[in-house]
């Protein structure tokens, strides 16, 4: 480890930061435009062509706004909550690989430049842990504001997070188990290797299904195919984790004014806002990474071989963003379409459907994997 490595880490971290900020600015605009289209409206039009710079203008405005602190707030915690929310949002994205790594020679050594701030061998656990901490931001913000509606929002956030965290974790257990059996000895919880596992296509099968081989051998080996149920649970819980419609009970405008961020203004509010959009992007990125092959896509190896690894990285980044934007579009579409769940419906969905569903799938898939490995017990 020399100073080149340090420099590479700094470059990666700054790169991830810049990526997230850019994506947020665009995402807010895209969301407003798409929701406007779905409601037959124009949406922002004034700042920049078709209002692209609207988010920048809003950000600047918030930056110069007065920060009002309620008299009854717990000041220290009240100050820390927005910072906590935005820090956890940034931290969560650190483990997501967003382009194909390539080798560069720096300081006389060949180093692999990965497009991922860090690759933990417990990335999946890390994501779950950070997303749990992110809930504290909401709860603490609600509590420390010293005001009733935010408190109600914070209480709701606690209940919602507990219900959906469990479902999310359980759905990932099944996925990780599947990956572990397939790739014995691999680094099954590292995001980079999860992407690598999904490279390529399914192998040709023997037996009566072999007539399908021309199709099967062209289907990418993404985990979505064998693991549809965990994906659906993960996606639902993901929407709930990011507190977005139809699971935005925490900040239900009609009931709780704005829930936990009612009492925040200026940049402190902007931080919550930023965190929400980063979380939305991270959730989509996680779905893509875990179930849809991450940055993988066709022709990457060919390009790397014939043109250069850097172009492969650029193209793979394009694949990644394209996949992520499909999910972001879904997020936005869902938000524009569905009314908010009632509180009991939220709990019902979490505890009576998602968690039992995840458990059932976990048991069933463990049985299937065990049978495949050891054969039926009576044979």
């Amino acid at each position: 480890m020399d100073w080149w490595d340090v420099l590479l880490v700094v470059v990666r971290v700054v790169g991830v930061f810049a990526l997230l900020m850019t994506v947020t600015v665009l995402l807010v605009w895209i969301e407003r435009k798409l929701v406007a289209d779905m409601q037959n409206r124009l949406g922002p039009m004034r700042a920049g062509p078709h209002g692209v710079l609207q988010t920048v203008a809003d950000g600047l405005k918030l930056f110069f706004k007065e920060q009002i602190t309620p008299a009854k707030s717990e000041f220290l915690i009240y100050m820390l909550a927005p910072a906590l929310s935005v820090i956890t949002a940034f931290l969560m994205f650190l483990v997501v690989p967003f382009a194909r790594p390539f080798d560069i020679t720096l300081g006389g050594q060949v180093r692999s430049f990965t497009f991922q701030a860090m690759d933990l061998n417990i990335s999946v656990l890390y994501v779950l842990a950070i997303s749990s901490i992110a809930v504290y931001a909401v709860v603490l913000a609600g509590w420390s504001s010293g005001s009733k509606y935010p408190l109600l929002g914070g209480v709701r956030a606690t209940a919602q997070a507990i219900s959906y965290e469990a479902a999310m974790g359980l759905s990932l257990v099944a996925l990780i188990m599947f990956i572990a059996v397939q790739n014995r000895g691999g680094d099954v919880m590292s995001m980079a290797s999860i992407v690598d596992f999904q490279a390529g296509t399914y192998g040709a099968t023997e037996g009566f299904l072999s007539f399908l081989n021309p199709i099967i051998t062209r289907v990418p080996k993404w985990f979505i195919l064998p693991q549809v149920i965990p994906f659906i649970i993960f996606a639902t819980a993901g929407v709930a984790e990011t507190n977005r419609a139809p699971f935005d009970l925490v900040e239900a405008e009609q009931e709780l004014v704005a829930g936990f961020h009612t009492e925040y203004s200026g940049m402190r509010f902007a931080m919550f806002f930023l965190a929400e959009y980063i979380n939305m992007f991270t959730m989509s990125a996680l779905m893509v990474t875990l179930f849809f092959g991450g940055w993988g896509g066709p022709f990457l190896d060919t390009i790397a071989l014939n043109v250069g690894p850097w172009l492969a990285s650029v193209v793979s980044f394009g694949y990644f963003m394209a996949k992520v934007f499909v999910f972001l579009f879904l997020f936005i579409w869902i938000r524009a379409s569905f009314p908010r769940l009632r509180y009991d419906q939220l709990m019902d969905l979490g505890w009576k459907r998602l968690i039992p569903g995840a458990l059932l799938w976990l048991v069933a898939s463990s049985l299937a994997l065990a049978i495949r490995q050891f054969g039926l017990p009576w044979t």
Partner: protein
């Protein structure tokens, strides 16, 4: 599958609207300050005080509008017409006439109450001001000029859509004073922003033949005497 079907249906609606908005003619809003939309004919906008052809003010200072106003935002003070230079054809004229536009609800009851069609409404609604005093319109702004143009408090403002200020709301021209639909199109009222009397509009249906009708008591439209003008 019920709930899934419902969810898909809901997303279908928004999806269809999105496609219609982006690629078709689904868009229903306009980029307002850059593009103005045609307003409905009976749009209730800012008031004006009208004049007769000879330049006399129509307002006779009777305060009926002030009495009818549910928001209590009209203040009228009448005054004897000076004998040598009368301002209105009546005995008195509206000496002070103020409308507090912050309180006005644009219900047009003042327009209905006025016996001389002195006060009518126009299509202009861009009246935002930066202080409360400016929201009180006095005779200076309300009274129409001799040439039929109307004054605007900030005529140089980008939003001051002066042609809108000369469009009358069509409602009064098409109905009788009492709002009775049988009198539709009968020259009982001719209020309209501007100077002088205007012919009434034909039937609300836009159909000239709509004027030839029979009232419940057997009289035909041609026999109905228009309401006496003052």
């Amino acid at each position: 599958m019920g709930i899934i079907g419902d969810l898909v249906k809901g997303m279908g609606v928004t999806g269809r609207q999105m496609i219609a908005t982006i690629f078709g003619d689904g868009m229903i809003t306009t980029e307002y300050p850059k593009a103005f939309r045609e307003k409905p004919e009976r749009f209730h906008g800012r008031h004006v005080l009208n004049r007769y052809e000879d330049g006399m003010e129509k307002c006779i200072g009777c305060e009926l509008c002030a009495g009818a106003c549910p928001a209590r935002c009209i203040y009228v003070r009448g005054k004897e017409n000076p004998a040598d230079a009368p301002v209105s054809p009546g005995e008195r004229f509206g000496f002070v006439y103020e409308i507090n536009m912050l309180r006005c609800i644009f219900c047009a009851l003042c327009v209905e109450a006025c016996p001389t069609e002195a006060i009518t409404m126009t299509h202009l609604f861009e009246m935002s001001t930066t202080n409360r005093e400016d929201a009180i319109y006095t005779k200076t702004e309300l009274l129409i000029n001799e040439d039929g143009s109307a004054n605007h408090m900030f005529p140089d403002d980008r939003l001051a859509n002066l042609p809108e200020l000369l469009k009358a709301d069509g409602w009064m021209r098409a109905t009788a004073p009492q709002g009775r639909v049988e009198y539709e199109g009968i020259p009982g009222w001719t209020p309209s922003a501007g100077v002088g009397l205007r012919p009434p509009e034909v039937g609300q249906s836009g159909d000239a033949a709509a004027r030839d009708f029979t009232l419940p008591d057997g009289t035909t439209s041609l026999e109905v005497e228009p309401d006496e003008e003052e």
